[in-house]
């Protein structure tokens, strides 16, 4: 890259940013990272599809066309149909909704749990800290998939029975939707797997920021603890957390697909990319179009989240802030 090019693109943004603040600096740095910018496009598209997909699909994701089972891609069915005659393209679009809701909800739950546990451990220290670290160690020592399988096998039946009882007691239609049981279990399992990571990250951040000079200076100025936490500790802990959340979202989506692939995730008839891949795998030699669509989506999204996380890491890394 020549000097002229740098001057033409990066410098203007950075000069602009230096008059403002560190967040703008970070955004400028992110914008200068090509891979991250490329990665943002599919991620934005994914969220758009998740929000509006069902309105865009040419067919309902459940609609079966028995005259065109296992049809190859055509102008009528862009990505062909599966063995029940359902439009693959529509199912992929709807699957984005599953992926995004799993990513968002499970990340949100594990982030909240991790924030609370991590802040308590980091700020209170002592026995609370030891307990939290022990809990995270214990959770992390169990293989993720095994944990998900155990949760699914042990909790699914009682939860469904409880919903049935609630329906009989309240006659509320909500409790008939057993479809929700799967989602709740998947969210729960993912949150359980992911919270220790966030808790440890936040604990470490708080431990390191607590001993920074500006926190000491703020205490020496008589600022109350709550204000120090919200104005001094948490904002300075955000950088690595944002990176972790970005990576965690992609990770949660992949894990959900893995669960579904193994049959412990989202169950039929809700479309899930993992489930579609596992179904498609059975006849990929004769009907490769069943596998290609969801597999490509999965790959693109996974790589995009990895690139974005990497770009965010470079942009938000406090070691580079300096001065």
């Amino acid at each position: 890259m020549t000097t002229q090019e740098i001057t033409a693109t990066g410098d203007i943004e950075i000069a602009e940013a230096s008059r403002t603040n560190l967040w703008r600096d970070a955004v400028a740095r992110l914008a200068a990272n090509r891979l991250a910018v490329v990665a943002i496009l599919p991620i934005v598209l994914l969220f758009f599809i998740a929000a509006f997909g069902p309105f865009l699909t040419p067919y309902d994701f459940l609609a079966q066309d028995f005259t065109a089972r296992l049809a190859s891609p055509s102008s009528e069915h862009w990505l062909g149909t599966d063995e029940l005659g359902r439009d693959v393209f529509s199912r992929i679009l709807y699957g984005a909704r599953t992926a995004v809701s799993v990513g968002l909800v499970s990340t949100a739950i594990s982030l909240i749990v991790g924030l609370v546990m991590g802040s308590l451990a980091g700020y209170l220290g002592g026995r609370v800290d030891m307990l939290v670290v022990w809990l995270t160690d214990m959770t992390r020592s169990m293989p993720a998939l095994l944990l998900a399988i155990v949760i699914n096998l042990t909790l699914k039946v009682p939860l469904e029975a409880w919903m049935e009882q609630m329906y009989l007691a309240t006659k509320n239609g909500f409790f008939r939707q057993t479809m929700w049981v799967d989602l709740v279990l998947v969210f729960g399992a993912l949150a359980l797997i992911q919270w220790p990571g966030y808790a440890r990250l936040i604990r470490g951040q708080i431990l390191s920021i607590r001993s920074r000079n500006y926190v000491l200076a703020a205490r020496a100025l008589g600022m109350p603890t709550g204000r120090i936490l919200t104005r001094y500790v948490i904002p300075n802990a955000m950088g690595p957390l944002i990176v972790a959340v970005s990576a965690g979202m992609g990770g949660a989506m992949v894990l959900e697909s893995a669960f579904s692939f193994l049959g412990v995730g989202v169950q039929l008839p809700i479309p899930s990319w993992g489930k579609m891949i596992s179904d498609g795998l059975r006849m990929w030699q004769t009907h490769p179009h069943l596998l290609v669509g969801p597999a490509v989506m999965m790959a693109v999204i996974t790589v995009s989240f990895a690139w974005l996380g990497d770009g965010l890491n470079d942009a938000l890394n406090p070691r580079q802030w300096g001065g």
């Binding site: 000079n213 703020a218 100025l221 001065g323």
Partner: protein
Amino acid sequence: MSVLLDVQELQTRFQVRKGYVYAVNGVSFKLEEGETLAVVGESGCGKSVTMLSLVRLLPPAASIENGKVLLRGDDLLQIDQRQLRDVRGGQIGMIFQDPMTSLNPFINIGTQMSEPLIYHRGMSKKEALARSAELLEMVGIPDGEARLREYPHQFSGGMRQRVMIAMSMSCEPAVLIADEPTTALDVTIQAQIVELVKELRDRSGVAVIWITHDLSVVAGIADRVIVMYAGYIVEEAPVDALFEDPRHPYTVGLMGALPSLEGDTGTRLTTIGGSPPDLEDLPDFCPFHTRCPYSIDRCRTENPMLEPVADASDRGHRAACWVDIREVEVQSNGAGASS
């Protein structure tokens, strides 16, 4: 003048794996209204820990075991957290060694400066910002109002220390504790910061405790000096008396290590050989005796108390030493060479 701050028998220790490290061992001193007190000593001698103990800003491993810190009669070691927060910033301001990391990088200067004003003085955001702009100009940062919107990384080290000083002085405290505020700055900026604090002190009448290991700064700013070693005060004197007539061998050693602008430029600066003792036990001997050219048998068995020195020009001149060093010929080639 009346006594503003009266520290009595302060003891602070740190818990470590093996037991304790005794950092501050029965330190007592008084600070009068408007006075500037310098605290000198080498790294790890307990200067900073003493000052952090005054406002209970110690790290979790440290605990204050004994003592009183009377600020206008109130014991700061007894008051509750709420009152303590009012004292911090409100009555005792502090500035620290490293200005590069003493400001929150996420909040602009104006917001950061106005927080103590809002909190301690009950100002509105607008009043606090206006006052902050005045304060910036007062500490020599021109165009204060515009700079309020800037962030710490847009300020140089010296500027940030000026901001820190402005913040710590913003609520007009009675005491300003400056913990080696010039150590991390280059020499020309150091002089500016010293001048700034002197100017602010003379204008506001704040009492200053200036922690340093730079004796040349002490000569320029202090009224009185405390010399600390291994968690003890080993000598206390008005600044002139200390420089003209030092009575503790450690002080003599410090003076000998100081370059002079006058005098014979051919002489070598002396050093104090050895290193300070580990403070894992309270010593029952003079902590300096292993490095002291004047040491006698008694130094190895009994730790001297801080007592008024003989033939002092000032009643406040005290030292903790068994030997009257004026009467002794130094045998070794140690620290006494320059006296």
